[in-house]
Symmetry: C2
Subunit: 101 residues, 2 copies
DNA sequence: CGTGTAAGGAATTCTGACACG
DNA sequence: CGTGTAAGGAATTCTGACACG
């Protein structure tokens, strides 16, 4: 199971088609730290399917009038929560298997 | 579960990096019917992760000296076998659920 | 048959800036 | 703050062809 979803291989032109956003917006959201495309040696941006999903969520939030700063805060928060959840789960699994030893 | 693997969004330059093949070879294998990238309105080729896997298999076969015609025959055959298998499975499932009715 | 290469054109992508608000 | 646009350069991609074998 290779993580195709996270592989950064899509150029910005294709992203505009997939998301309906302009290049300008996409680059601006990067500037604000909402997404982090990879750069080729030459400097062209490469996005993953995951980035595209994020961009579509951003587009929805922006339509609701949410500012990029707010969107970023929410996204960072979600990641934090996910990490806490994963840490807890890991801890429980470890405790479980340690007890069984 | 979106089929990222089949979505044709990768341009040929990225494919050369991912597969190690030259553009010439990639286009030639298309000419021989081994792969079928999508074309944008403007005419640039777009490949899927699935296409990339196919290309890597082709590269291996070519190194073994297998001709493209032979490779195509094998690939077509594999697809045929997969279809037969799927048809059989579908038939069994249908029979199963019909009997239960 | 399979692949390299030079050729010329057309579209892509990038950055920094000015604009409006 | 968020986005549009014109500007100029650099790299990408395409096709058809000649080459070698």
């Amino acid at each position: 199971m290779i993580p195709y979803k996270e592989k950064k291989v899509i150029s910005i032109g294709t992203v505009t088609e997939l998301t309906g956003l302009t290049e300008r917006k996409i680059r601006y959201y990067e500037e604000r730290g909402l997404i982090s495309p990879k750069r080729t040696e030459r400097g062209t941006r490469k996005y993953s399917f995951s980035d595209i999903e994020t961009l579509m969520n951003i587009a929805d939030k922006r339509e609701e009038g949410v500012q990029t700063k707010e969107i970023k805060k929410d996204m960072d928060n979600e990641k934090k929560m996910a990490n806490i959840r994963d840490d807890l789960l890991r801890g429980q699994l470890n405790a479980h298997f340690n007890l069984r030893r």
